[in-house]
Symmetry: C2
Subunit: 338 residues, 2 copies
Amino acid sequence: MGKDPSVTVGELGEGRVLQRVLAQLRPAETAVLGPGDDCAVMRVQGDLVVTSDTMIEGPDFRRAWHSGFELGWKLAATNLSDVAAMGARPTGLTVSLAVPRDTPVILLEEIAAGLTAACDAMAPGCGVVGGDLGTAPVITAAVTALGDLEGRPAITRSGAKPGDQLAYAGDLGLAGLGLSLLFAEACDEGVAHSRTLPELWQRQPEMLAAQLAPTPPIPLGIVAAGSATAMMDVSDSLSLDAERLAKASGVAIQLDSALLAAAFGDQGGVPVPVAAMLTGGEDHGLLATFPAGAVLPAGFRRIGVVQEVTVGGTALQLDADAYEAKGWDPYTVQLPGQ
Amino acid sequence: MGKDPSVTVGELGEGRVLQRVLAQLRPAETAVLGPGDDCAVMRVQGDLVVTSDTMIEGPDFRRAWHSGFELGWKLAATNLSDVAAMGARPTGLTVSLAVPRDTPVILLEEIAAGLTAACDAMAPGCGVVGGDLGTAPVITAAVTALGDLEGRPAITRSGAKPGDQLAYAGDLGLAGLGLSLLFAEACDEGVAHSRTLPELWQRQPEMLAAQLAPTPPIPLGIVAAGSATAMMDVSDSLSLDAERLAKASGVAIQLDSALLAAAFGDQGGVPVPVAAMLTGGEDHGLLATFPAGAVLPAGFRRIGVVQEVTVGGTALQLDADAYEAKGWDPYTVQLPGQ
């Protein structure tokens, strides 16, 4: 059937779909045995880190907005950022894709190409080592990412100490602005459409890229691991995740709006309000704490300070005031069109 | 809200759903850091094996037939069997669960309890180390299983040699018979119902258990690794998977109907026809090859022989005749009710 773009997975069958998907992948450097057996086999140097994340058509992405390539890229990026946040080197991904039977095979090939390109760009040597294919009423992509600590201790979210500097690396708030833009200008009565996408890409390329195919600073995870006392990736929002880090460490965090505005108020020419930085979500940059006085690794910008928890005090402040964290909760947030 | 069985995940929100799910889990022995950070961290001795498998409501299971506990058990069992098939010790699982907002929280707790019980029964020391929660139109469970080869080489499907004995350990054909029984007696016009389930459980407990909550012989994977030349788990059907092993090894496989009938014709008092053994699927037992003359590890039964590929010959024979492999293809098999 060659490359007829209309051929569906139901017409081609699992074996041949798998062949076409595998052709878009590249072996992981540490894989002794890649896809095709009951398991992949990987050589490991230090402790292993592992994380899983799923993206489902509807709550997590829309086909009207995401190309297959962007979806694959985002799948890789959002999982690689969790590996980076431990101070580990990403080594492999497993990808389970379940799609409706009438899904064009080419979409799965594009997803695989996006996964490969994202690994090449952000985590060279990392690749897809396994996974499975199946059917589902909507496109369902579950990714597990593996990483190697190579003898270093893991950087958790529980190591922040009063007096530490709070710092962030990566885009901040752009992804949330991109999502708002898509809902405002690429939706009719709650239904996503792609009619205005080309114009939006021209007008706000940074916002759309941050939302649809983010590029978190993965290599900075290992760099930061040399001096960070705590680290995590920001996935639900800076405020929610800073509060989580504070609670896990038994400290309070004071975010500084002036530092935020100075460091991230202009991102590639795009003005980003502090409120968008605090509540946007899906940034996937690295939030880390470093000892007072330490020189921050290149790429990290100071955005606040770690403090003692005071009796009756809050875990999170913005400047002098308590700040109620806001962001993404998959079970309670109701998106348009659902 | 206590344990009101009607509370839904949408009412409770992600944080508290996660707390209730985590309370049903147990730490993995090799986990340095369990769920709650960006990644879990695991200590590893030898090469790592990793596999992923997804179960989706509809094509892979029905809530009318599967309790949450059985679903969790089956999720663990089907992934652990892939780890065992490499000759590795299962060490950890990650579980991504996405469910509709109106799903009772108690169902997620039952799934978690089933995962824990299955690990305790089949792979002591293994536990859930991470995962994520999300929303989806139907229950979607993606599991990744990790295992440690502990210095042993992996047993792949490509090492079978002409002259080797072919052997199998585990239930064979029962799971497929169980599925046929459910379709025949617990379906009305293609829609699954549970009205007849108690009676079916009483009448055919082995078939239903094999289908709904299988117990593959996980510990035999490490035992077999001492002498097996090739190994894999049988997931789609004995005939399909034997043919895959033959092709991966560049050999032909001759299944022996008399050996099959003698070894697996009576399973716990249930008569199983050879045709059901060959095409049933979802057995998750271990198919392995051992050198001619080797004593088979306890639990394995001889079911055939590995042969040279002959010019124009087939990869799979049953007795003296070519056998066309049949079983499960997720994209082309159309189940009732879909």
